[in-house]
């Protein structure tokens, strides 16, 4: 019987009373252990909740500060030295041109690279391994370094496009490319092999299989990755500061190669830096506009992924 005895305290009490050893499995872990577990859970919950609390505070803070300037004028006016008249129109159009140019460039390159790496690359070849490692490493390179790359090779140097919107597009393309490639690869990989084999068994070529079966099934995944990458690019400021998104542009760019553009976050940054409180209000209002766009895109991407994710 001795070996089954369980609870220190109770057992001693029972033994002291001269009774036979009892056996219990009732909540008998020591009190200190219970406290430790509780404290641990509290710590974990705190860590999760602080992120959520921050999100809520950040949105409320921006809403409170910026509400007085949240109106249509904010969207239709051009930047101005007079805070009451300043608006975001040129920044909105600048963002559209930059992001539009980025999407057109990024999609074919990103998807193409993903198809190559998933469907054709032999992972034993050294150059394919190099590509893999390289993509992983690029994901950790700070965004501002891409700005320097854009400044040295795209705005000036070999391409010498000058400070045009498409220079911003190209810079952002290079920055988000690793993310897009990784997401697209994942999407392609999750297409069941049976589908490929089925298609090949019917005599389809590799290309036909990819075009008619693999890609259509991978589109939701690729779209999710692309939207997340685009929303990251929309909010990006630092690299664009280097490739010439100037902060005081009172006209809309009329094409990807027209000189002089600004984007939403760059314009917000400019307002944040001004000492006057009126500009701070403008910055807050601008942040609300930016957050609405980004939250909408993110929610759509997450919805898309949950919708098409195959049940595990």
């Amino acid at each position: 019987m001795d070996r089954w005895r369980i609870r220190g305290g109770a057992r001693q009490a029972v033994e002291a009373a001269g009774a036979e050893t009892t056996l219990t499995v009732q909540g008998s872990r020591s009190r200190s252990e219970g406290w430790k577990s509780l404290a641990f859970i509290a710590l974990l919950l705190f860590s999760v909740l602080i992120g959520l609390a921050l999100l809520v505070t950040l949105i409320i803070d921006a809403l409170v500060e910026g509400s007085s300037r949240l109106n249509l004028d904010l969207l239709t006016n051009f930047p101005s030295g007079v805070p009451e008249r300043a608006g975001l129109q040129s920044a909105i159009f600048g963002t559209l041109w930059v992001i539009g140019g980025m999407i057109v460039t990024m999609l074919p390159v990103g998807t193409g690279a993903a198809i190559y790496l998933e469907e054709f690359a032999n992972p034993d070849r050294w150059y394919n391994r190099l590509l893999e490692v390289n993509i992983q490493n690029l994901a950790a390179v700070p965004s501002i370094v891409f700005g320097i790359l854009g400044l040295g090779l795209i705005v000036r140097g070999p391409l010498s496009l000058g400070s045009v919107a498409y220079a911003g597009s190209l810079t952002l393309t290079l920055m988000v490319l690793p993310t897009v490639i990784l997401a697209s690869r994942e999407a392609i990989r999750s297409v069941p092999p049976s589908l490929r084999q089925g298609s090949m068994a019917l005599g389809a070529t590799r290309w036909q299989t990819i075009w008619h079966h693999v890609l259509p099934n991978a589109i939701p995944g690729i779209a999710t990755g692309t939207i997340l990458a685009v929303s990251r690019a929309i909010g990006e400021t630092a690299p664009l500061l280097l490739v010439g998104a100037t902060v005081f542009v009172t006209f809309n760019p009329d094409g990807p190669l027209s000189e002089g553009y600004t984007t939403l976050p760059v314009q917000i940054f400019n307002w944040v830096q001004r000492p006057q409180d009126e500009f701070r209000v403008l910055a807050a209002a601008g942040i609300i506009v930016l957050l609405v766009v980004l939250l909408a895109m993110n929610s759509f991407a997450i919805w898309l992924r949950n919708r098409y994710q195959r049940p595990m």
Partner: protein, 288 residues
Amino acid sequence: MASLFACALVSLLVTVGIVLALAGPTIEFFREVSPLDFFSAQEWAPTFSPASFGVLSIVVGTLNVTFWAILIALPMGLCAAIYLSEYASRRTRKVVKPVLEVLEGIPTVAYGFFALTFITPLIRDNWPGFLGDAPGIFSAGAAGLVLGIMIIPTVASISEDAMTAVPSGLREGAYALGATRRVVATRVVVPAALSGIIASFVLGISRAIGETMVVLIAAGNTPNLTFSPVQSIQTMTAFIATTATGDIGVGTITYKTIFAVGALLFVFTLGMNLISSWLVRRFREVYE
């Protein structure tokens, strides 16, 4: 197929491009400024005359902010990951994970604004006197704090992936020995997922080092060789962003300085990556 390969090659060309773009002006920079001055001079004033190129000031500025950021981000990110992987119900996870993703998607300029207009005043108004001088309008600590919270989701999501990948047989084995959930999480799951957790830590640190907007907005922009959290400092990234925004001619020493600092930053993150992959290999657990 060749065109697909070319697409994949673009990613490699980006790296080559970065190295080339940085190398040329950096080499020219070091023709004019001796590396000894660069790394040992106390003062950083590259645009003044006489100019001084003691990069240590802004390197320390970067480390200062990074220190406070990772002090927050690493433990809290890990805790959030443990909660999501080991404690949260499937329903909770379904709500919390997208919120974390949304947090990752908030533009850094918004975090910077938040640090400057909300966190800093909050700290200044509630500063306990016994800690000495209150932080100024711009401070390394406030920027680091917000930066840290900003990085929590990055650390949490990668760590959580690593923990979820730990085979459930290990958890069952520990539970069957009478381990509590806390013990299973801390003594079994975390050690088994260590390599992924380390990878998340290193990525978090890399992000803190490379982040620009929060520090540019909230940490001030004054080179200051200090580890104090209450002072205004300049980081490497903030220097690059500030200087490059002005109109600077190609070939001037200021232009080259941007590239030299950029090269140093790139070497930093490259180094972090190398350390990361070494650590990941070192701690990789094969479960079977």
